[in-house]
Structures are given as C-alpha cells and as structure tokens.
C-alpha cells in the first residue's frame, strides 16, 4: 500500500468529504421540497374561493372563533384543513410507494398505478361498497386485503429465474386490466346512485376528507413508516443487482418481500382513503430523481407526491370553470403526458 500523503488530508478524510459532498445536493433538494410542500399546504388552507388570513388561521387552530366571520371556523376545520392534511398524507404515501416499486423492480414503469396494486385496492373497495356497505376503516381493510392478494398473485405469476422485475410489471399490467374489467362489471350492475359514487371514488378525490379518515390513515402510516425508515438502506442495497447484493450479505428474497408488502400497504391505505389519484405514485419518483441529481430517494418522492396532490387539488377546486373537479382528473391529465415522455426517454436511453 502506498504511504498516506500528509498534505492537506488523508485519503480516508477525502472519502468522507466526497460522501458529504455527494449528499449535499439531495439534502438541499429535500429541504427545498419540504418548504415547497409547506407553502402549497398553507396555500390550500388559506387561499382559494374562501380566503383566511394567517392570524385568523392560528386563532382557529387554537380553538378560537374569528370575530365577524363565525363560519370561518367551520370551513377551515371541517373542509379546508382536513382536505389539505389528507392530501398531504396520501400524496406522501403514493409518492413513497411509487419510489419503492421503481427502485425495487428497477423500472420507471413499476408504479402501483401501472402494475395493478391501485386497481386491486379499487376492486376491494368497490366490492366492499357494493356487497357489505363498507365505509371508513372497513373500506380500508377491503382495499388493503385486495391489493395484497393482487400483489401475491402477480408475484406468483412472475416468479422464476431471470428478469423478475420485468415480468412483474407485465403480469401486473395484465392483472390490472382484469381487475379493471371486474370493477366495470360491478358498476354496470349497480343502481345509478351507488354507481356514480363509486365512479367518483374511482377518480380519486379529496372531497370526502374528514378527521376520522385522517386518523385511520395516520394510524396505519405510524405502523408502516418506521419500517420503511429503518430498512430503506437495504432497499438501496438491492440496487446493485441480486447476485452482488446477496454476496454483500443481504437476504435479497426477504428484503424484496418486505418492500413489496410495504409498498403495497402504502398505496392501498392511500387508495382506500381517497380513491386512486391517477399517476401521482408514477410521476413522483422520476421527478424526485431529476431534482436530487439522479439517485432514488423515498423522502424526496414522498414530498413530490404531497406537492402534486396539494397543488392539483387547489387548482381543481378553485380554478376550474365548471366548479369543483376531483383531483384525480387533473393529475391524470398531467400525468399521462409525463408517462409518454418517460417511455420515449427510456427508449432513447436503451437505443
């Protein structure tokens, strides 16, 4: 080994500095994203068709009433704030879930809304609504159980040697189509009333936000998120390929299973709360990667997801001429072109 040179710093110090430096851009991007999410959250709560000043908002939060605008308390606490909080939570859940699948299956197309996880949750929810009159917590259970079943089914169909990620996505698209047609069948058999409410739910909307729904979602996230935080370095460790990860001492099969379950749960509980908000899980990861300089980051994706949902809901409920529009319609309109752009870019990179 060559003797360590003594000028300036040792090689080990250099390695440490380089690591700090390479983490600087992601950290900065995440800080900026967090501020942006906070800003759009406040915008959603304070601005729009009913405006509240920041001091009034603080008064309301502390339980007070605003003189001269007694209705303000109701509008903020029962409509605007729960909507924003729910948007924040599901946006983060969708964003993180998409990033987990994209990193795990090493493919930008691998997002819960493309590979059938969200459709599975929708199928569960629609079945729950139609046959058992499920609402709130029981609706979440239906969505979670069905999306897990769908995920296990896709895993079973795509197991074997070779490129598992690729097969998982193809199987997922097939299963998604199947679940979609079952949903359509169910809707065609419903009476008009429940059909229209199911259809509204399927577009993805924050209009049903209330504190009950938020507390259920918070409770489930409080269980899932610690696992994601503690284990996420293992998810990143798989990214060097299965064989190498294995030889680094990682149990690849178990890690992959754990993260499929965590990704499914995140997408499923979010879908149960608001319906599948189109393309949020799908676009958050790639946008986050652009912002932090190429690497995958679950935190950045979660923040991008929250930003998209909050901004889209703000626009959809305030600036669409025909009145309030479900947020999923707007994310769908903007998400589809991004999907096409990603496909074109992936093709260019491959070619």
């Amino acid at each position: 080994m060559p003797a360590f040179t003594t000028h300036n710093s040792s090689p080990a110090q250099r390695v440490k500095d380089l690591r700090t430096r390479s983490h600087r851009r992601p950290r900065r991007a995440i800080a900026v994203l967090a501020v942006a999410v906070l800003a759009v959250f406040l915008m959603r709560v304070l601005l729009g068709s009913y405006t509240v000043t920041f001091p009034d908002f603080l008064t309301i939060l502390q339980g007070g009433t605003v003189e001269g605008a007694r209705g303000a308390r109701f509008i903020v606490m029962e409509d605007k704030l729960p909507r924003a909080v729910l948007g924040l939570l599901v946006g983060m859940a969708f964003g993180a879930s998409g990033a987990i699948f994209q990193l795990l299956l090493r493919n930008p197309l691998a997002s819960p809304d493309v590979i059938g996880i969200s459709t599975g949750a929708s199928l569960g929810a629609v079945l729950g609504i139609v046959y058992w009159g499920a609402t709130g917590f029981s609706l979440s259970i239906f969505a979670v159980v069905f999306s897990l079943l769908i995920a296990v089914g896709i895993m079973a169909l795509s197991s074997g040697r070779g490129n598992v990620g690729h097969r998982f996505i193809l199987m997922g698209i097939g299963v998604s189509a199947l679940a979609g047609s079952i949903i359509n069948y169910l809707i065609s058999r419903m009476n008009l009333n429940s059909a229209s409410s199911a259809a509204l739910w399927m577009t993805g909307s924050l209009s049903s936000a209330n504190w009950d729904r938020i507390s259920i979602l918070l409770l489930v996230l409080a269980v899932i998120v610690p696992f994601v935080v503690v284990l996420h370095s293992r998810l990143h460790a798989i990214a060097v390929g299965e064989e190498l990860a294995h030889s680094l001492g990682l149990n690849v099969a178990i890690t992959r299973w754990i993260f499929i379950v965590l990704g499914v749960l995140l997408a499923a509980v979010a879908t149960a709360a608001t319906g599948p908000i189109a393309f949020v899980a799908f676009v958050s990861g790639p946008i986050a990667r652009r912002l932090i300089g190429g690497a995958h980051s679950l935190t950045a994706s979660a923040l991008v997801g929250a930003f998209i949902v909050l901004l889209a809901d703000f626009i959809a409920s305030n600036y669409i001429a025909s009145g309030s529009m479900p947020v999923g319609v707007l994310t769908g309109v903007f998400g589809a072109p991004i999907l096409i752009w990603l496909l074109v870019r992936a093709q260019k990179e491959a070619g």
Binding site: S22, S233, A239, N251
Partner: protein, 268 residues
C-alpha cells in the same frame, strides 16, 4: 490495509444445478489459500455455476462446500460476506451513484441497521480506491466512466468488502486486450500485497495462464485437469477440453506459456 487470512475452501463431491438440470456433477476441489486460481472451460461447462455455489447463491444438491472445515451454509450471511466476496459477471450500477458511494456499498456487511460509515469504513474505501487507482475518479458518476474504469471501480467495491477470498466471474469481459491485461495485473498485485485468495472464471486462456498460479479446467460439469498452467495447458488437454487445435510454447523458458492456435489449413 487489512491483510487477508488464509482460509481453507474445500468442495467435496458437490453437485449443483437448477431444478432438474444438474450442471456441476460430483465435483471435488481444494482452493489453494492465498493463491490465484483460474477456472477455465468451454461455454456452459459449469464454471459460473460453480462460482455461484461457492458464493452461496446456489445450494448444492449433493455434497458439501466447506470453509475452514465448516459448511458455508452454517455461516451467518454477514459474517460470510466479510470472508467471501463475489463480483458477478454483470453487476448493476445504481442510478445516479458516484464512484465513492458505489465503493462504499462494499462496506455493507460491516454496517448494522443504524451504524453506518465509520472511520474504519472510510479507511477501507480509501484503500480500495487507491489500490485500484480510482481515487481520481471518486467524485464522478459511475455512468460517466469507460468500460475499463468501471470494471476497476467494481473491483474497488469488492476490495472495500475486505474479504479473505474473492470470487470473480469473468472480470475481463467487454474489455479490450490492454485493459484485460491491466485488470488482471491489478488482481495479481492485490493477491501478492494483501494475500487475498482469488478464484476467477476466465475465458482468455493465455491471460489465465499468465495470471493464475493454479488452473482448473472443466468440461461438462466435471474437472478434467487441474494444476499449474504448464501442467494443464497441454496441446492434448486443449484439444480434449476445448476442442481447440493449438500448440503450447514457452518462449522465455520460465514456465510462462503461450498458446498459439494452429493456422487455418491452406493458410500456411
């Protein structure tokens, strides 16, 4: 630099395969500790499968693989990863990763759920970067590198793992001749300086003879011949194992042999 321990790797009557298809058949082999072993053989003879078996990627159908007398499957996975490293044929660089970060991934078996990147890890990564002459590339994105540079970075990652035994599956694939020689020389250097036992699958016979102390020639899942390059690389063996008509020369008369395939008929 942490010097490598001499660990005894022994295969007793090992059969390996996928499902019903057995590829390596009843193979027994002693890997010489502290030396460079090259496994050679035609495509599909079971070279890579053998390496997968030794690295615990594939469980033997029969027989046992022992590390210091204990079955490799009885070692906890991280402890095993600190002893035996594998550089697969086609490792994947994660998206948007720098060289320094990629090489640091080699420290995974030394890190716990919460404890990450200690001073010891930095020392090991710095040494690996220096030993492979990639310190100057440390800040670059892996995707910006040339094929030869990239391969050296992967070796650096395997070195940062500080294992006593390193398995390399065709480390020179996709490299031009000059870079193949450079890479194998680097591996020889590391073997001499650090004492790492190396087992590599190689296709290029002349380079295998040049780099390895010990050659293992396989055909159809069994060992046809094993020993020093001069012992294994005979015209008869080349013909029976590879179906290659060639003559073997020793130009410097020091055991450093050169294989010259016979000229095409009618070309003389």
């Amino acid at each position: 630099m942490k010097t490598a321990q001499h660990r005894q790797l022994t295969l007793n009557n090992v059969s390996l395969g996928y499902g019903a298809k057995t590829i390596v058949k009843d193979l027994s082999l002693e890997i010489p500790a502290g030396q460079m072993t090259a496994i050679i053989g035609a495509n599909g003879c079971g070279k890579s499968t053998l390496l997968r078996g030794i690295s615990k990627l594939l469980k033997p159908e029969n027989g046992e693989i022992l590390l210091d007398g204990k079955s490799i499957h009885s070692y906890p996975s991280k402890e095993f990863a600190r002893t035996v490293g594998l550089l697969p044929q086609a490792p994947i660089a994660p998206d948007g990763i720098t060289v320094a970060d990629l090489v640091s991934r080699g420290r995974f078996p030394y890190q716990g759920l919460f404890k990450r990147n200690s001073a010891e890890d930095d020392e090991a990564v710095a040494w690996a970067l220096q030993a492979t002459h990639t310190m100057d590339l440390a800040e670059k994105q892996v995707t910006e590198l040339s094929g030869g540079q990239r391969q050296r970075v992967w070796i650096a990652m395997a070195l940062a793992q500080e294992t006593d035994i390193l398995l390399l599956d065709e480390p020179t694939t996709y490299l031009d001749l000059a870079h193949q020689v450079e890479l194998l020389d680097l591996l020889c250097e590391l073997n001499e300086e650090r004492g790492t036992t190396m087992v590599m699958v190689l296709h290029e016979l002349n380079l295998a003879a040049r780099a390895a102390h010990h050659l293992v020639a396989m055909r159809d899942g069994v060992i046809e011949s094993a020993g020093t390059p001069a012992e294994v690389m005979t015209s008869e063996n080349l013909r029976s194992i590879f179906g290659l008509r060639a003559s073997v020369h020793d130009p410097a008369d020091d055991g450093s042999i050169v294989i010259v395939p016979d000229a095409r008929e009618g070309r003389r």
